[in-house]
Symmetry: C2
Amino acid sequence: MSEYIEHDAGGVSVGVVEKKSFTFAHPPDEMVLESGERLGPVTLAYETYGRLNAARDNAVLICHALSGDSHAAGYYHREDPRPGWWDIMIGPGKGIDTDRYFVICSNIIGSCLGSTGPGSFNPRTGRPYALDFPVITVGDMVAAQRALVDHLGIERLLAVIGGSVGGMQVLEWSVRYPQRVFAAVPLASTCRHSALAIAFNEVSRQAIMADPKWNGGRYEPESRPDLGLAVARMIGHITYLSDEAMRRKFGRRLQNRRDFSFNFDADFQVESYLRHQGHKFVERFDANAFLYITKAADYFDLGLQHGGGSLSQAFTRARARYLVVSFTSDWLYPTYQSREMVKAMKKAGRDVSFCEIEAQWGHDAFLLPNERLTHLLEGFLKSCHDDVC
Amino acid sequence: MSEYIEHDAGGVSVGVVEKKSFTFAHPPDEMVLESGERLGPVTLAYETYGRLNAARDNAVLICHALSGDSHAAGYYHREDPRPGWWDIMIGPGKGIDTDRYFVICSNIIGSCLGSTGPGSFNPRTGRPYALDFPVITVGDMVAAQRALVDHLGIERLLAVIGGSVGGMQVLEWSVRYPQRVFAAVPLASTCRHSALAIAFNEVSRQAIMADPKWNGGRYEPESRPDLGLAVARMIGHITYLSDEAMRRKFGRRLQNRRDFSFNFDADFQVESYLRHQGHKFVERFDANAFLYITKAADYFDLGLQHGGGSLSQAFTRARARYLVVSFTSDWLYPTYQSREMVKAMKKAGRDVSFCEIEAQWGHDAFLLPNERLTHLLEGFLKSCHDDVC
């Protein structure tokens, strides 16, 4: 990693970073997935920031959400206009301080941003997997991350941190590999999707599958189901904001004119915003990857998968200390779901801190600058670091 | 109307009813719409239940929601398995008692269930309007209903009652034609859509317009944009239920099997429910009508259109007494929006009763059996009837 340090809006950045990748599970030693299917070889795109100390005990793993990638911080080159997706939190002197911690972030399997997913080359057929890609789970994502952590020679992670679907990975890590995780921080997350969250994902998937260009998942780069994927993304953006957030951000303000168009153009700013988000998304994301990752999120049920239906039973397997954070206006994974999680952790005898942060911006709040969140993470990590290192 | 009386789950029904229609605004005397466009001739499908009294002052107009029709009560024939959509409320001895009141319900213009809409024949071109149909407003819907009320020889309606988009029509009636409305009952409604409600409608419209079979609105009966319309309806159904309603109705229960399918079939009951609702809807509804009605709902802004931006100013035009009802779990038009409405009515000196009903079923609650709602409507109408008749 370059030593070039750049200043951005969030303060000092980790500077120029490089994309790395790690390939494992070469046949015949493929990963055995939760479905029973086999997958290999598997490539993980990842990045690291800061330095692993001699004791190899200062590593923090960041788990990204649905559409995230391994580029969590820094810039790819000096003219790069946009830093990684959580650059406000990760860097020298920031909430997750790269002067202290060795930070790792990898793209989840099933995605399309460098790691193996439905758009990858299927060695058995010589063409992209498409729907021949096996349905993967959050457990499978985490199992792949563990292979990377092994590869980096890290016995125990100081902390695993992530929001939303990234928070599910955090919870899974803590229960699946209890000896490998000292601390776990699920943000704006849940131990299982509500019917409402499943409903939103299902309608999004239906929007993709309704696009004739989806073609049973077998599409060419020049003819992708962009319209369906854009609608799916628009649905997602509704769930990332809240009623109040939308009211503050858009209200009923009109787009570019004072009067109604009396046609089906975007009259309101909120319409224009959603169309923009939808169209922007199709440039960088793959429709099949969206299907696989949302399905994994819907399947995730920590209590069912690790506690025979009991969430507290699942947490008896864990050893990590937890910091659980929810946001008041998050209606995708509302605070009551974090409270259930915390209750089960306590019942299982875990050391857990819980904080509900007052925030207007709905589910998206965990990605936005928030002094309270920064201080919470900073303090929590420091106390873990003091206890371990 | 036949005197045949049928018993159903909701008690005695009005029995066998007949579809009627009324056509007006023949060129050159077309309706002049709020957009400035002209529309004619205009046909309204309607039904009536009970008898208009000699003084012609016992008429109650029912306004239906987005996908409703004029068939609010009774059966079309003796073997008809399903009564009208509000048969639980309308009938002899019911909340809206057809032994006392003459009840009218007409299909809104812009719809596809008997009244003039985008699927109707355009006399100027000799083919269906499609997107040549002018964008209509809630005010236009109400202006058309007024022509029907004139036609029936009714000077003043005892009450106008409706839920959701029907409630918008109720509010519009009371402000647009103050002398023609004695009482007005908006249920689970709003004086204007929030950004969130607009967002849901916009994504639904985008789902329809993304379907290549939509073809700019110009589709043939044998090749309709069913997939897009089904996705739009699924989005709608998410907004009609609440987080809690979905949890109670479906939770994470699986469909037809104990284990995950590990494919993209419907694993969860909630997925299967949404798919079913989507597919059922395309059999009876038209995609263009969906576009027009949702746009009218998004445009509706009582304070802007009748009060120069002030809701209380708009209500100073009204003379009606109001009964406003909201439901605790309605997150499409939450109670706070009804409270704003009530506050503005009071500020304008109107006589208003307000009731928030405890209900689990979200926005849909106004359509479901609810003893509290039945008693409220019964008592309110009786007191109006006593004061007028």
